[in-house]
């Protein structure tokens, strides 16, 4: 299952990339796409319940604890992360790899591909960025390997693409590509623990109550302080 909203210039581009990736893999697995106005929580959560897909894919925008929908409301956040239990999760969005990714395995997600900071790209290399952002899921579905087993190959592909962009004089495109590859991370069952939280309170909570206790505290905070998508991050 894939969800890709389209509510600004950036999501117009990322929706194109997402649908290209889904087209590429649609001869290997059945694809259920929620694009544009359909990329909202009520449709996606219902389909997750009804269809129990093996994969969940989300393209821009994201933030640490939220995958945003077309209505600029969360599609997935900390409280609904467990809806993805038992799935391979592939995100092209900003930062969700840091927050949601850290709690993914604790919530029963098999593996979570995400970026642990804000994603960058430039419009003089849209084809190359699309190719790199889509590489992991296409490679994984094509080869039958887990995302964790293709991530280093994907990262290398990104670095090689960055080198070609630099040789073509597209310095900022190359810089953005290198950055994206540096912040790409896959959390997986049996893999290394997520890094210690930066905030002392979260570190203490994690030591006392474990990752799921920290998830509960963060989830309650998210419920109290409804997240709003920042437009100028």
């Amino acid at each position: 299952m894939a969800a890709a909203p389209k509510f600004d210039e950036v999501t117009e581009i990322s929706l194109d990339w997402c649908s290209q990736a889904m087209d590429e893999i649609s001869d290997k697995i059945e694809v259920l796409g929620f694009y544009d106005r359909e990329a909202v929580k009520r449709y996606v959560i219902q389909a997750l319940k009804d269809k129990r897909p093996q994969w969940f894919v989300h393209y821009d925008h994201g933030s640490e604890y939220v995958m945003w929908g077309d209505d600029e409301e969360p599609i997935i956040d900390l409280s609904s992360l467990d809806r993805l239990a038992g799935m391979h999760v592939y995100c092209m969005n900003c930062s969700s790899g840091k927050g949601l990714g850290a709690h993914a395995v604790g919530k029963g997600i098999l593996e979570y591909w995400g970026y642990v900071d804000v994603v960058a790209f430039t419009t003089d290399a849209l084809k190359e960025f699309g190719d790199v952002f889509n590489y992991g899921i296409i490679m994984s579905v094509d080869s039958g390997r887990w995302l964790k087993d293709v991530v280093e190959e994907a990262r290398q592909h990104g670095y090689d693409t960055a080198d070609r962009l630099r040789e073509d004089g597209k310095i900022l495109a190359a810089s953005a590509m290198v950055r994206d590859m540096n912040i790409l991370h896959v959390y997986f069952e049996g893999g290394p623990e997520p890094p210690e939280p930066e905030c002392w309170f979260s570190r203490l909570a994690k030591r006392l109550f474990g990752w799921n206790g920290l998830w509960l505290l963060r989830m309650l905070r998210q419920k109290l302080l409804e997240p709003v998508r920042a437009h100028n991050l």
Partner: protein, 72 residues
């Protein structure tokens, strides 16, 4: 050697100045970083006042420089 901060700033500005304002298809060149989607003019006009933007663009170029050091 990686450049000092002021040298890096000058280098970033030089890269920005050399960046064509339009792509080969005639559309405006833009950089997406987080939720920002900025033209060359947006970046240069806000360069002195927007510390976050400056930090983000500086980090992009620094990342490329470190990557190149690692590739040698």
């Amino acid at each position: 050697m990686v450049a000092r901060k002021d040298e890096l700033d000058e280098e970033v500005l030089e890269v920005l100045r050399q960046q064509p304002e339009k792509n080969s298809d005639g559309t405006p060149w833009k950089l997406k970083i987080g939720s920002r989607f900025l033209t060359k003019r947006d970046i240069l006009d806000n360069w002195d006042n927007d510390k976050e933007l400056k930090r983000d663009v500086r980090k992009l170029l620094l990342g490329l420089k470190l990557h190149l050091l690692g590739r040698r």
